[in-house]
């Protein structure tokens, strides 16, 4: 019980809190709910405003995967780009995070500040020169043209999160291992890394979501529709049915892209919140 909760014996305060909670729920979920409802309408009653799709229909969902739209390929592209970005980021970032969390060296704060600062640079400032570079070396429409720039925001994010996790672990762990004859490297590999697995896993989820949701890099580096990632592909859907913009198909694709993330987020919400607030970074 928090101090605030102890004081909230009065009825109006409890009503206020519950009302507030209800408002937050509606605020966060209503637009998302509308996306789901719209996805499951028949394309012919796409513009209906009923709270439930009646009749329920999977036409929009099947349209997403029709050969004309080819969304399956886009999902695969997103998976590859976000997956490889996440793995590279963790492999590169884990040692840097350990150094920042555990070692005492000069300029440590400056180094930490520099790493966090790089994540704040506007994406477009990095993209313009990379775009002309990748054009010159023939990287346009390749996975690496999306993965390499993605490291610019994913790596600082991961280092920051991992540092916070390593810092939470008691230093006595390594000291004990080192007294038992381990070198610092062995202590890290055999003691810290296994124990930090939850933190590394959380960082992987956060990094993956950030890379999966990335838009401007994928938009700039690829113009071949078979190489598009999911976020770019959705925004470029052209109508499988006779509307100006195929909103039904787009909402269905939006549900497909978002629901796995939401499920993962709900499953690991405690850890993700710990990671996000410790890192303080989007």
């Amino acid at each position: 019980m928090t101090a605030a909760a102890q004081g909230s014996g009065t009825l109006w305060k409890r009503v206020l809190t519950f009302g507030g909670l209800g408002l937050i729920l509606v605020y966060c979920l209503a637009p998302f709910y509308w996306m789901a409802v719209s996805a499951f309408r028949r394309p012919s009653d796409q513009f209906e405003l009923t709270a439930l799709p009646a009749p329920f229909s999977l036409d929009n969902l099947t349209a997403v995967f029709s050969p004309a739209v080819g969304f399956g390929r886009s999902l695969l592209n997103s998976l590859i780009v976000a997956g490889v970005t996440t793995i590279l980021t963790l492999v590169i970032g884990v040692s840097a995070a350990y150094a920042l969390a555990r070692l005492h060296f000069r300029f440590k704060n400056a180094v930490a500040a520099l790493i966090i600062a790089t994540s704040m640079f506007p994406g477009i400032s990095l993209l313009v020169p990379l775009l002309s570079l990748f054009t010159d070396i023939g990287w346009i429409n390749t996975y690496q043209s999306m993965i390499v720039p993605s490291l610019s925001f994913a790596l600082p994010l991961a280092v920051w999160n991992l540092t916070a996790f390593f810092r939470q672990m008691p230093e006595e762990l390594e000291q004990a291992a080192m007294i038992d004859g381990c070198t610092r490297g062995q202590a890290f590999r055999k003691v810290i890394l296994p124990l930090a697995a939850p933190g590394i896993f959380t960082t992987a989820i956060i990094t993956f979501i950030a890379a999966w949701n990335e838009f401007i890099i994928a938009l700039s580096m690829v113009n071949d529709s078979t190489m598009q990632t999911a976020t770019v592909a959705i925004s470029r859907f052209t109508g499988a049915y006779g509307f100006d913009q195929p909103f039904g198909t787009q909402m269905a694709a939006g549900v497909i892209v978002t629901v796995p993330l939401v499920v993962v987020v709900l499953m690991f919400q405690r850890r993700i919140i710990a990671g996000l607030t410790a890192g303080g970074v989007k």
């Binding site: 507030g20 513009f47 070692l103 704040m120 993209l127 600082p156 401007i216 925004s235 987020v265």
Partner: protein, 310 residues
């Protein structure tokens, strides 16, 4: 204990070299994907592509050195109107969205902090807007804001939200606030949770009203967490791209941001001007961050570390 201390000190002397080795992969990568592009952008911004006539009337092709011409064109020349409009949009979006997000975020955090039951569910649901890709949320709001969409049906009006004008700005602001206010709420909630209970108990014993407790205890103590959240939000809002691009469209005067202008120039293969816009935006972001840290004392590293320690 002394053995441990001695070993720790022994580790410190070699720590510099070890730290350098451990940090170098990260710095090499960041140097390539962040450092190089920043320098290259600066270099590119003093060139201009395309066919032109030189002083003696000969046709020259390819990039040629133009000095600060790209910048003068942006600030006072042919692109000035577009630039200042985008600069204004970027700034207005940033100020309004971050203000609203802070107000809503603090409200949400207070409600969640006071709740005993249901807190888990609400905390989980608050992650949903964060997890939705910005491009997808932009489409979702475009759908909601259709002429015969649910927004107009609810307010009983026929507003063409996604066409040029104040309504397009409003739509972008609303969509951005929806997605990120809960995130601010999470960061503030983390700040609230580390305030010790006895501070409030002491205040209550002294007869401080809840209102006074909020202004004199909660707000000052949550300030570090709040400032970090605001700093991150400001820097993120300054580079806004996905939302106006997908929700309203490119080359729309009422919502065009600096990122969008730079992107538009780059996709028309005018890399010189694009690099100039990109550099200007970078400087704008960097100056904002510096001013923020100086004026408000946003101790980013320290505040994050404080919270990490808990």
């Amino acid at each position: 204990m002394t053995a441990v201390a001695r070993r720790a000190r022994g580790a410190t002397s070699g720590a510099g070299r070890l730290a350098a080795a451990l940090l170098s992969p990260t710095f090499v990568v960041l140097g390539l994907v962040v450092g190089y592009p920043l320098v290259a952008a600066l270099r590119e911004s003093v060139f201009r592509e395309g066919t032109d006539l030189d002083e003696s009337g000969f046709v020259v092709e390819g990039a040629r050195f133009v000095g600060v011409d790209n910048y003068t064109a942006i600030f006072v020349g042919e692109s000035a109107a577009r630039f200042w409009n985008a600069f204004g949009n970027t700034t207005v979006f940033t100020v309004i969205t971050v203000t609203l997000e802070v107000l809503l975020g603090v409200g949400m955090a207070l409600v969640m902090h006071h709740a005993i039951r249901w807190r888990g569910i609400v905390r989980a649901s608050i992650l949903v807007p964060w997890a939705v890709p910005t491009a997808v949320s932009a489409l979702l709001w475009r759908w909601i804001f259709q002429a015969d969409g649910v927004a107009n049906a609810m307010i009983g009006q026929q507003i063409l939200w996604t066409t040029e004008g104040w309504q397009a700005k409003f739509a972008v602001i609303l969509a951005d606030v929806w997605k990120t206010a809960p995130f601010v709420g999470l960061l503030v909630l983390a700040g609230l949770q580390i305030i010790p209970n006895d501070v409030y108990e002491a205040a209550r014993v002294d007869g401080a009203s809840p209102w006074r407790q909020f202004w004199q205890i909660t707000l000052p103590l949550v300030k570090p967490a709040l400032l970090v959240a605001v700093l991150f939000r400001v820097l993120d809002a300054l580079r806004m791209f996905d939302l106006p691009f997908v929700l309203i469209g490119s080359r729309k005067e009422s919502v065009e941001t600096l990122s969008m202008v730079a992107f538009d120039e780059a996709s028309s293969l005018r890399f010189g001007p694009a690099a100039a816009y990109a550099t200007i935006l970078f400087v704008y972001v960097a100056v904002t961050a510096l001013v923020f840290v100086r004026l408000l004392g946003a101790d980013v590293i320290g505040a994050a570390r404080e919270r990490a320690r808990k």
